[in-house]
Amino acid sequence: MTEMMSNGVELMFAGMGIVFLFLTMLVGAINLMSSLVQRFFPDMPVMGAIPTVSSGIDKSIIAAIAAAIHQHRHKHK
């Protein structure tokens, strides 16, 4: 086995080791975090605004919809 190959094998073990270490620690952290959140903020009020119709839709679109509905209502009568 060439030196590069042995480097590769080493890299594989180090790599998968770190990946598993990282994600295992993340599992632990999530479990801890979730239990803390559920204990201390059981009914945590939704922060900020309720993400209803996102602010990404600008007012003019809403206006267009309203106008369309309005027009429709009139035609419909």
Binding site: V9, L11, M12, I18, F22, L26, V27, I30, M44, V46
Partner: protein, 375 residues
């Protein structure tokens, strides 16, 4: 007369080299796959078009002074893949993963495809004419991460010459996930295992969704700083979406910004599909290893799920392990489909989304390892 000759000498027909013609065909093939076969069209269409443009003789669109030359700056600096990753983060819902965090381990296991194909690339060096350096091998391995921006980011740092082939392989195999994965999933599971129903997931609170990206970033800072550009931008996008107070930024990150950058990134990646870099025996190696990487990643995910099912107190359907390769949301849909074949009342989609998004994290972590250890 002289003028006519000079005109003729300035045509593409006169100046075409065989390599350029071949690469242009590759570009048109990618366009065909994108448009007619629906292979990841958002990326493969601009990549294919970039390949065509950059191989036009005389025009020099990918050389200094040409459009693609300047656009490529966005890849060289890492800006394009990182901005796309931010947008992907903004589109990702970690709810299913947070409800069942142990599925993260499936996302870890599936990264074995990365390192196995890295080894494979080094092993291929026994073939005369093939010479993959450790950097090349690492960049090829990342195809197994089944994550476009991560693959492009890593390849642009470690092996820019192979970038074109690697990106094409990554997106093509992502599109082929519904063909590659099912036979492997069926071979490694029994009918009974595929029938396993999983428990309904608990709802996840908004606070958890807000804290998670920060926690992810923090862990990456402490353990693996080399992964923080990728994980950081992903976490930023995810936080913008989860927090609910910057919706206009989150919407822009998921829509216009990611769309603009996708066009630019695709064209720039395509500009690396030059005959010089692509028409090498290495490219065949890359394509072969990419397929191997996907297959091994799928298998590792499924096997890990089988092991976990044995030791877990709640049942785990091994099929969801295959979703650990990422390829969001295609791999999760495949798991769902194969599950339905064995048990028509068994909807695995939500359960597979956990390992699916975990796979994104897993491959970003693997990318960090490669960037930090491969010098």
């Amino acid at each position: 007369m002289e003028n006519l000759l000079s005109l003729w000498q300035s045509t593409g027909l006169y100046n075409f080299t065989g390599g350029q013609a071949f690469m242009m065909l590759v570009g048109f093939l990618l366009l065909f796959l994108a448009i007619k076969k629906g292979f990841e069209p958002l990326l493969l269409l601009p990549i294919g078009f970039g390949a065509v443009l950059s191989n036009i003789p005389v025009a020099g669109i990918a050389e200094e002074g040409g459009l693609l030359y300047y656009l490529y700056f966005g890849i060289k600096t890492g800006m394009f893949p990182l901005l796309i990753f931010m947008g992907v983060g903004a589109m990702t819902d970690f709810g299913p993963m947070l409800a069942n965090p142990k599925t993260l381990l499936l996302g870890a296991a599936a990264q074995f495809g990365i390192f196995a194909s890295l080894l494979g690339a080094l092993a291929l060096n026994v073939i005369p004419g093939l010479e993959f350096s450790l950097k090349d091998a690492a960049a090829i391995g990342i195809i197994g991460g089944a994550d476009g921006p991560t693959a492009i980011y890593v390849a642009s740092k470690l092996a820019p010459d192979l970038l074109g082939a690697i990106a094409v392989a990554a997106y093509s195999y992502m599109a082929l996930v519904p063909l590659i994965q099912p036979p492997i999933m069926r071979a490694l599971t029994t009918e009974d295992e595929r029938k396993i129903e999983m428990q309904q997931m608990r709802p996840v609170s908004r606070a958890e969704k807000i804290i998670f990206p920060l926690m992810l970033l923090l862990l990456s800072i402490l353990l693996l700083p080399s992964a923080t550009p990728l994980i950081g931008m992903f976490a930023l996008g995810n936080l913008m979406n989860a927090c609910g107070v910057v919706d206009r930024l989150s919407q822009t990150a998921q829509n216009e910004l990611i769309n603009i950058v996708t066009i630019f990134l695709g064209l720039s990646v395509g500009s690396k599909l030059s005959a010089h870099a692509f028409l090498q025996i290495e490219t065949l190696g890359i394509l072969a290893l990419g397929a191997v990487a996907f297959a091994i990643g799928t298998a590792s995910g499924v096997l890990m799920a089988k092991v976990m099912n044995r030791f877990s107190d709640t049942p785990i359907n091994p099929l969801i392990g295959a979703a650990g390769v990422s390829a969001v949301p295609m791999a999760a849909r495949v798991a769902n489909k194969i599950g339905l074949e064995s048990n028509p009342h068994n909807f695995l989609l939500m359960h597979a989304m956990g390992p699916n998004v975990a796979g994104v994290i897993g491959s970003a972590v693997a990318a960090g390892v490669l960037l930090s250890l491969v010098k």
